[in-house]
């Protein structure tokens, strides 16, 4: 029976890692390309979830269609945010931090006064459970796993292969040089923010189905996203995979041995120690 638990745990690790990676992806993109520490990622993620919910439950639309719509809508919101809030302050880290924090407060309050703080859940995208031997995986989690891996791969390919992607890379490495080479940095910034927010919306919608939906759903996930990106090392999208796996491994396996707060403590300590031995993260180049 212990072996059963062990096998199930292995599955859990991958599922949870997929969840974390999906959530961290948009955050990582903004961090790596724009160097913006986007605390508001959490709130945007939450907003995306709520839009998707309203479309599915309120308007009774097809889940996948509404997932797409919510992603697009939040992407547009991202454009707005970039234009109005980020662009004037790109060289000014402190202001960005304050802005993104203000965004969290405002978005949460908005949800609170409009749809209310009632905790709900988005109906399953993929109902049912798949059983492999003793291991059971819910449809939603499998969907998350597939979509998460696809998006990660897509992001990496996009950055490595496409012209825009390479431009993003250039901007992330040296803003001024990129500008001198005639790269339209404004366009890159807008695009990156939009994609980042859209990814957040996808994550939010899926998490709304896998976990649950509440104005505060982003708060803990934000910390996870930060942990992953810092572990991976700023500037490395691929590292998000490893960062996600590490966190998934910790959070999915530790509770088996020790319950409660001790889980957090040990998990965090391991992350901190890793970072002290490799200050620039696992794949980050020296800052």
């Amino acid at each position: 029976m212990i072996s059963e638990a062990a096998v199930q745990t292995v599955a859990n690790v991958f599922m949870l890692s997929a969840i974390y990676i999906l959530v961290a992806l948009g955050f990582a993109l903004l961090m790596n390309v724009l160097g913006i520490l986007n605390f508001a990622h959490a709130a945007i993620y939450m907003a995306g979830g709520y839009i998707c919910y309203e479309l599915i439950v309120g308007a009774g639309m097809n889940p996948w269609v509404s997932l797409l719509i919510s992603a697009v809508a939040i992407g547009a919101l991202g454009l707005l945010i970039e234009r109005v809030l980020f662009r004037p302050f790109l060289k000014d880290m402190n202001s960005i931090v304050v802005i993104t924090l203000a965004l969290i407060i405002i978005l949460e309050a908005t949800v609170n006064v409009t749809v209310g703080s009632y905790i709900r859940r988005i109906p399953s995208f993929v109902p049912g459970v798949f059983r492999v031997g003793t291991v059971s995986l819910s449809g939603d989690r499998l969907a998350t796993f597939v979509i998460g891996s696809c998006l990660l791969a897509a992001a990496i390919l996009f950055i490595r292969k496409t012209k825009t992607g390479t431009q993003m890379l250039a901007v992330s490495q040296d803003f001024d040089a990129a500008a001198l080479q005639g790269i339209n940095t404004r366009r890159i910034f807008a695009l990156t923010t939009a994609i980042g927010c859209a990814l957040a919306a996808v994550a939010g919608s899926l998490m709304g189905a896998v976990l649950s939906l509440s104005p505060l759903m982003g708060d803990y996930m934000l910390v996870k996203a930060i942990e992953i990106v810092i572990l991976a090392g700023i500037g490395s999208i691929g590292g998000v995979l490893i960062g996600g796996l590490i966190l998934g491994l910790l959070d999915a396996s530790l509770p088996l041995f020790i319950g409660g707060s001790a889980t957090d403590l040990i998990g965090l300590s391991i992350v901190i120690i890793l970072l002290l031995f490799r200050p620039q993260g696992l794949f980050g180049h020296e800052a």
């Binding site: 059963e4 969840i19 859940r121 976990l211 959070d251």
Partner: protein
């Protein structure tokens, strides 16, 4: 230098003026102010915002009947809600505001245990009578140290007894139970009480699992729980989010046995979070508000809730609950002095509650007989349907 000097002066002044900006609320005559402590924002607002709405129903209900009769004359009530913002600091600030700025003498509300405790540290010295909606059997939260606190719903402990009773008669084959408790500091107390209850019912405790308050994904905990091979699983003292998610995962992992919750979470909400396909062989203390088996008073509140908010759920009941008792004790005490009311309430043997006739108890369990014990409703989720089960009579000595 001039600029700075000027501005430092300014901020000093505005600091003071801000502090006095709003003069203390003038106490209107012949209105009885009742404070309501809820989290409208932040942690816990998911439930308490709706409990607060239910509380408004209570205020209206009393005032429509002309208020509470004290010394022959009808006194209307006024509910003043302060937001605890989901933090202990917020709770203390809100409580201070109610007790010293609004000068209320009675406070209802407060569900989340650590905020019950925090607000208590302000309200007890101020001799403000509190009606709690929830407790975790923590001596500091509710017990001999808190003489002005009354518990109108003994959710966790009495509730667990009710669940176990029903478990025995509905699923006689069940021999062992595993408890899942949030790791918020209440574990040692609850574990003791629950183990005792279980052995009373001739059940064996297969294990006790703790989950950190920051848990996002409950799968690992459930994996751990299922490794203990229990016949049944009990979610003690969680909130719908946790209970629903855990129920879902339990079923998805193929656990067939009965699963039950230990407190007053809304069955409909749990079903929404767990998903219809996973909501079976589950029961919890809650009301099926459409069932004919409800007390007339509940029907009344349901009507009002539908009229005011267009919908209804268990949390509205939770908010309304204390008003019904408050009216009785105020009229019994025939006074608005919290100490008098407290003494009267302590002497009362029985009290009518929203859920039917109630008795005062808790002396043995909590060391203070401020607990209102009442029939405990049980609702089950069977094949995705919310089914009313019955009232279970329980009593905390």
């Amino acid at each position: 230098m001039k600029g700075k000097g000027l501005f430092l002066m300014l901020c000093g002044l505005c600091l003071i003026f801000l502090a006095f900006g709003r003069s203390a609320v003038v106490a209107e005559e012949n209105v009885l102010k009742i404070g309501g402590l809820y989290c409208l924002t932040g942690f816990g607002s998911g439930a308490e915002a709706y409990v607060a709405q239910g509380s408004k129903l209570g205020e209206e209900w009393i005032n429509e009947n002309g208020g509470v009769t004290i010394k022959g004359k009808k006194v209307p009530v006024k509910l003043i809600i302060e937001d605890m913002k989901g933090t202990a600091d917020g709770a203390v600030a809100a409580a201070t505001k109610l007790a010293y700025d609004h000068k209320v003498k009675f406070v209802i509300g407060t569900v989340v245990p650590f905020m019950v405790q925090a607000s208590g540290t302000v309200l007890e010295p101020a001799k403000v009578l509190r009606i709690l909606l929830y407790n975790c059997a923590m001596p500091n939260e509710y017990g001999p140290k808190t003489p002005y606190a009354f518990l109108c719903q003994d959710a966790t402990v009495e509730g667990m007894r009710a669940s176990l009773q029903y478990l025995k008669e509905r699923y006689p084959q069940v021999k062992t139970v595993t408890y899942i408790i949030p790791d918020d500091g209440s574990v040692p107390y609850l574990q003791k009480l629950f183990t005792a209850r279980a052995s009373e019912m001739g059940l064996k405790v297969a294990g006790v699992a703790k989950w950190a308050m920051t848990t996002e994904d409950y799968t690992p905990i459930i994996t751990q729980v299922l490794a203990t091979k229990p016949d049944s699983i009990a979610f003690a003292n969680g909130w719908p989010q946790a209970t629903g998610s855990m129920l879902r995962i339990t079923r998805e992992m193929g656990f067939k046995g009965p699963v039950f919750g230990g407190n007053y979470d809304d069955a409909y909400q749990i079903r929404e979070i767990a998903g219809k396909e996973n909501s079976t062989d589950f029961f919890i203390h809650n009301l099926d508000l459409d069932s004919p088996d409800m007390t007339p008073m509940i029907k009344e509140v349901t009507k009002r809730a539908k009229a005011k908010y267009g919908k209804t759920n268990g949390m509205y009941m939770m908010g309304f609950f204390p008003w019904y008792e408050l009216k009785q004790v105020l009229e019994a005490a025939n006074s608005t002095d919290p100490t008098v009311v407290k003494n009267t309430w302590e002497k009362m043997k029985t009290i009518d509650t929203l859920y039917g006739p109630g008795k005062m108890g808790g002396l043995k369990t909590y060391g203070i007989n401020h607990t209102v014990c009442h029939p405990c409703p049980i609702v089950s989720l069977t094949n995705g349907e919310v089914k009313w089960v019955k009232w279970v009579d329980v009593y905390s000595p």
